[in-house]
Symmetry: C2
Subunit: 211 residues, 2 copies
DNA sequence: ACATAATTTGAGCGGTCGGTCAAACATCAG
DNA sequence: CTGATGTTTGACCGACCGCTCAAATTATGT
């Protein structure tokens, strides 16, 4: 990767972080990167393509960071702790704003939608992988639909990140409530097999009543 | 409300829905509304102020619709069903895209942040109100932190709406898993007081272990 | 009918946008 | 050194941006 290309990728993400999509222009990005604005078109063809390339690279880097952090997780409680730490890390890096811009842009830009879907997919796959490792052999495994659980956690974290940028106290209340669900899962893990089967059967019965 | 002002408010929301924030310009909005673009500045002072006014009015209308729909809800299961119906309604109206644009814009625009926070607050307050009504007298009430639960539901729905615009299957898996949590709540409601107190105490104990 | 005020119009201002281009510059093989 | 190739530069283009304004039109009170 040539120095100029990397500077432009970084400049694009910095611009998105600091000024949002409204501040993303060839001249702003080039200024942030410290290079001539015409180089954007020489190296990436268009501002849109640069933005997509920058988002792709940045989300790839972040997923790699998640994977590294998840590698040492051995229990549900550790997973929730690492999750909270990663959440705060994302906020401090300014990536919450980036995620918001990507999700918003994905609604009307096909390329951005593909990149965003890919990022969410990788992120959810990481959660699913660590959940599978943590819960395998655990009594909870027979209770849980791991892929669904991973999606639900991923969705809740997306909501949490965006919520926090707007209503911090509400996000913290929600975080506490969601962690109580984690505690509930741990309680279920402590149930004996008879009680667990009874609980599972009751949940299935209630869920089957839905239209 | 004069006809022109209303047309401009509607035109602003239609533009945001159909073309996203990138398509929001005085000429586009005026074209969508079928009025002269200079009227935006005569009636609202600036494009930004029109956008904020339009978002404020639209979210107010939607919250009123939620309140009306929640009024007939009498049980947790009904609440989940109405929630799912409202979710699909939002999607069909194109309001998912609007929410995404508001959340993204709120990251860098103070006025938009205020409007968005207000909207999320009203929406969460409605959930809290109906939850309180539905769960009061229910055995589950003594289990749940209602405000935290309302925030968690609100956060999850925000995540769900944005997720659905990008990864539909993932969102549906998450929806199913979250509804299983609803089923779990109904199961808890069927527990006797002794089992419930024991469960609550275990959850508190597990939650207390967290740093 | 008339004066006054509110509303609407089309033209246009200065400025920024994405993108282009010819020329300058750097690099390196022969 | 020479020529070929790849990179960088600043000037520039047409389109669109938010916004203003004087003039035209419509509504209102007397």
């Amino acid at each position: 990767m040539s120095d100029t290309k990397q500077r432009l990728l970084d400049g694009a993400m910095d611009t998105l972080r600091k000024h949002g999509i409204a501040g993303v222009s060839a001249r702003n990005i080039a200024g942030m990167a410290g290079v001539n604005q015409a180089l954007i078109f020489y190296h990436f063809g268009s501002v849109d393509d640069l933005l997509v390339a920058a988002c792709t690279a940045a989300t790839g880097d972040r997923v790699a960071a998640y994977r590294e952090r998840f590698a040492t997780v051995g229990s549900l409680r550790e997973l929730l702790d690492v999750g909270r730490a990663l959440h705060e890390e994302e906020r401090d890096l300014g990536n919450v704003a980036v995620l918001a811009q990507m999700l918003a842009g994905a609604q009307h830009d096909e390329k951005l939608a593909r990149v965003t879907a890919e990022a969410l997919g990788m992120w959810t796959a990481e959660i699913e992988s660590v959940l599978h490792r943590v819960l395998t052999g655990s009594p909870f495994a027979e209770m849980a639909d791991i892929p669904g659980l991973a999606s639900a956690i991923s969705v809740s974290f997306v909501g949490l990140e965006l919520y926090e940028g707007v209503d911090r106290p509400g996000a913290q209340r929600a975080m506490a409530a969601l962690e109580q669900l984690g505690a509930l899962m741990e309680v279920v893990e402590e149930l004996g097999p008879v009680a667990r089967r009874a609980l599972r059967s009751k949940i299935n019965k209630v869920a089957a009543r839905r239209p």
